[in-house]
Structure formats: C-alpha cells, structure tokens
C-alpha cells in the first residue's frame, strides 16, 4: 500500500504500472485519474489551489485504503493526491487497486474515490474568470459514498 500527498506533478502511467510490478499474483489492475478541468459551474478555470489538513490528510487516506483492504481481496493499493498550486490539465488524484480478479479491483477503486471525495480533508479553491472561489461540496458526492 502506498499513500502520497505531494505538491509535485506525478506520472499516472508510472503509478498504474507500479501496482503490478513484481506481483505475479495480480490478475487485474484498475486506475482512476482525476484532472484539473479548465471549466467548472459555468466559469473558466485558470488553475486552482488545493488546501489540506497537514497531519490528518495521510491518516485519513490510509484509513480509507485500509477499509478497502478489509472489504475486498486486494493485493495492492496506491493513492496519490496533489496539494498546492495546480494548472488545468494536470492530474489531481490517482487511485489504483490491484487484485487477482477484476471485480474486486473495480469496486475497491470506486469505493476509495467515493470515500476520498467525502472524507479526506482537501479543499479546492479555483481561479475563475470572476476571481477566486471555493468549490462547494456536492450532494451527489455524498450520495455516491453512501451507496457503499
């Protein structure tokens, strides 16, 4: 299991490949990448700042990964989340899961993302054409987490 909170741009392809590396029991790897869009809620977005809660962030991510391990027969989990200044087109988050069979990897990856969206202490502040604005939480994210 690997958890990284980093201000550096990361390579999602490398993160995906690392999930299988040296694990010959792995039959399925699923990866999700979230990117900074240049448009949100009717406004152009020129970039964003990602604030987090130092001290709590990595613990919260590790707890979510641990819950996934308890629910599915996973062989590996990798979570990377950016903090600080991000530009449009850059990756924000990577969640990857590895398992012997695909369904566990698919479900665990979706579970981790849904929980991360509602329980990990990150906050986005976008630079929009109308000035900076904090992104507000969505009910649809809460509903997605509740289905698990």
């Amino acid at each position: 299991m690997s958890i990284q909170v980093s201000a550096e741009v990361f390579d999602p392809g490398k993160a995906l490949n690392a999930l299988q590396d040296k694990h010959t029991g792995v039959g399925a790897v699923v990866g999700f990448v979230g990117y900074v869009r240049d448009f949100n809620d009717g406004r152009e977005v020129g970039g964003m700042f990602l604030e987090h809660f130092p001290g709590m962030t990595e613990k919260a991510l590790a707890k979510i990964a641990q819950q996934a391990h308890e629910r599915w027969p996973l062989l590996n989990v990798n979570i990377i989340h950016r903090i600080g200044r991000l530009e449009p087109g850059e990756p924000i988050v990577f969640v990857g899961t590895a398992s012997a069979h695909r369904q566990a990897a698919f479900d665990a990856c979706a579970f981790i993302m849904d929980y991360l969206k509602t329980q990990a202490p990150f906050w986005k502040k976008e630079d929009t054409s109308d000035g900076p604005r904090w992104v507000e939480g969505r009910d649809s994210d809460r509903d997605a987490a509740e289905r698990w």
Binding site: G55, M56, V93, P121, F122, W123, W134
Partner: protein, 83 residues
C-alpha cells in the same frame, strides 16, 4: 487547553487558522465548543452554524456529539472537495 483549527473557506471568513482556548467544564462534546464559539456572534455564529459543517477531533473526522477532553485538538471546516 483546547486547540482549535479552521480550514479553507472557514479560515478565511473567520480570519483565524488556529487558536487555544481555556478548558471549560461545560465542554462535554464538540458541539459545546461550537456553541461557545458561536456565542461570539457575527461571522462566528454564521459560519459555525452552517448545516454542512464538518469537524475532526484529534485529526479524525467526528460528529458534533463526539465527547471532548482537556488537551484535545478540534478542527472545523466546510465540506471537503478533494479528488
């Protein structure tokens, strides 16, 4: 003492990222602390009275009914928006 932290929009609105408060016997749960802070009125009552407020005790998410003890660290913040 109780250490209180505020994040993101709350930190900006309250113009405060953290503060230390003297422990009070009436602080039995996180909500008692919240009520104490809201009694400051104005923006404090407005922000900490928000329906979607989230909180953490000792760096773990919790509910407002979470029991509180002297030396705890509490954080208040808006709905998280990572990912």
């Amino acid at each position: 003492m109780i250490q209180v932290q505020y994040f993101a929009r709350y930190r900006e609105a309250l113009q405060c990222d953290s503060e230390s408060l003297d422990w009070q016997v009436g602080f039995t749960c996180v909500n008692d602390l919240r009520t104490h802070l809201m009694a400051r009125g104005g923006i404090w009552a407005q922000v900490l009275g928000e329906r979607n407020l989230m909180c953490a005790r000792n760096q773990e998410l919790c509910g407002l009914e979470e029991p509180l003890m002297d030396s705890d660290e509490v954080a208040f913040f808006p709905t998280v928006t990572g990912g």
